[in-house]
Amino acid sequence: MSELPSLHAEPGRVVLSGCWTLAEMLPNMPALQAQLAACSATTKHWDLSAVTRLDSAAAVLLWRTWGSSWPASLAISDLHRQSLARVAELPVDIPEQTRPRRGFPEMVGALLLKAMANLRGMIVLFGQLLLDTAYLCRHPRDIPWKEFTANVYKAGAQALAVTALVGFLIGVTISYLSALQLKSFGADLFIVNILGISIIRELGPVLVAVLVAGRSGSAMTAQIGVMRVTEEIDALSTMGISRSIRVVLPKIFGLTVAMPLLVLWTSAVALFGGMLAALVQLDLSLIYFLENLPRAVPMANLVIGLCKGVMFGFVIAIVACHFGLHVKPNTESLSANTTSAVVTAITTVILVDAIFAIFTRQIGVPQL
């Protein structure tokens, strides 16, 4: 590979020699292009007989230099003429690849249509779920217990550590910040009310929902998505196994069952963190805190918190499964849908939480 591509211009004649390949041209590409361009207009006679190699990149370069036509006289070996002929056979007007540009209104419209399609997809999935449940009630032998318990374990038991850690830290933080405020009012004892109501009713469920959406929701979308990409879902169908009963249903019911349990656990740990912080900051004994908790927080709050857990788990799982089932067989779509699943799940959870807050505003708040 020692022969560099070189070009020798004589009056009315250009002699090319050496190895005209992409790899050899690369180091001094601009110079070669400039030399060729300078020759192209005036020269009619091209001598390529001294060229040892001519690859298609060089052939395209020459063909372009000649203005897409054969020069008047050309000395070249048959082998190299063949590679030039390949270029010459290409259609002259190769269509340019262009993507239509969309204006702002169109983008908004497309986004809206997409949102509608997703909503519709989720309603269809919900309907399918109802049909499957009815079927399973009549045929209890087909209930996928193994998959169901596996999902409870994966989404619930394996999440205990991380939810406990986050819950504990949030509990400490809230307790510490509230204590500073309450101390200045001399209302130290109200720390029990503040922590109890806020954690059990609001923070526990939402905190767990955000964690679970990121942890289990994304995993569900990715798993179903990859199963679609690798045609495993199709393989299941051909074995006569319903993908909705085997893949989707255990995930949705598994998370719906695991979530309230996680909420209970996280709220408890968060309260424990709050109690410890109150002990350090306000000198409030643990016994006092525990004795006053039932009085400050009516039972209804716990029920509301657990109901939220059930709802949130259901919403996260159904959103995750919907986006997983609509992954197109390429990597880009997989990443886009996983992102959409987590974002949509968290947004929907907050929305459902707001609706809950409005409808339960009369319940469980102690009247002073």
Binding site: A23, R64, Q82, V229
Partner: protein
């Protein structure tokens, strides 16, 4: 005297304690078309991965064009990689890019060619492998198995490699396409003086294309040489593989 295109010396590799290659040596010179044969699980693909530098052997050395694959110079490594093209068994097309962009990708990475040049080159490669310009818009997921192979070959050829590695190039192609493929690679080899190493089980591809045959068995190359010489080797794998066809191929 040019250095050999591929030179493996005393290569050892193992998976989970099980030896795949034991003191394997192979030397491929410029312009040879080597068919790599071996039973299922004999480490043919592993050998290709070692040649590509995707897998570092536990001991021994791999030289391509006289350059050690473990050379620490990053630019040297990159330039070396640009001199070889690989056709993966299942295509390994970038699923998020269209056919056109898949082939244009390595060309764009050179940062030296303008858009018009790249476009012509891509369409030339598409024509070479028997695809139409309209196929450029398709996504890899929309292609049939045979088309994936051809697009992958077009991508492997994009950078005008001097060394082409093919992993089961004609598996899954109909006999007609497979014959076209053999002719195409043969033409390219004559025009560009390519060196080709291919893993194949297809006797017709082997007969039509290969000049040399390397047989991988017992964790090493048990025979390497011109096609007709290797066929006469007395080893259970060779006699089993060629079997009754031995005469016909000669």
């Amino acid at each position: 005297m040019k250095p050999p295109v591929i030179e493996l010396r005393g290569v050892c590799a193992s998976f989970r304690g099980q030896a795949v290659h034991r003191d394997l040596s192979l030397r491929v010179d410029e312009g040879q078309i080597v068919g790599l044969l071996g039973g299922s699980g004999s480490g043919k693909t592993t050998l290709l991965r070692e040649i590509l530098g995707l897998l570092r052997p536990e001991s021994g050395s791999v030289h391509l064009f006289g350059v050690n694959l473990n050379d620490p110079d990053v630019r040297l490594q990159r330039d070396l990689r640009r001199r070889l093209g690989m056709l993966f068994q299942h295509g390994a097309l970038f699923s998020a890019l269209s056919v056109f962009d898949n082939i244009a990708f390595p060309l764009r990475e050179l940062r030296c060619l303008d858009a018009d040049w790249i476009r012509r080159l891509v369409h030339l490669k598409l024509a070479m492998v028997g695809l139409e310009a309209a196929h450029g818009k398709l996504m890899p997921a929309e292609l049939s198995g045979g088309m994936v192979k051809r697009v992958a070959l077009a991508r492997a050829l994009a950078l005008e490699p001097e060394l082409l590695l093919l992993d089961e190039p004609t598996a899954g192609l109909d006999p007609d396409r497979s014959q076209n493929f053999v002719e195409l690679v043969g033409d390219l080899q004559r025009e560009l003086g390519l060196t080709v190493v291919m893993v194949t089980h297809d006797l017709h591809t082997l007969a039509g294309l290969a000049t040399h045959v390397a047989v991988l068995a017992d964790q090493r190359i048990i025979a390497f040489g011109p096609k007709d010489e290797v066929m006469t080797v007395d080893h259970s794998f060779v006699t089993g593989f060629f079997g009754a066809d031995r005469r016909k191929l000669l």
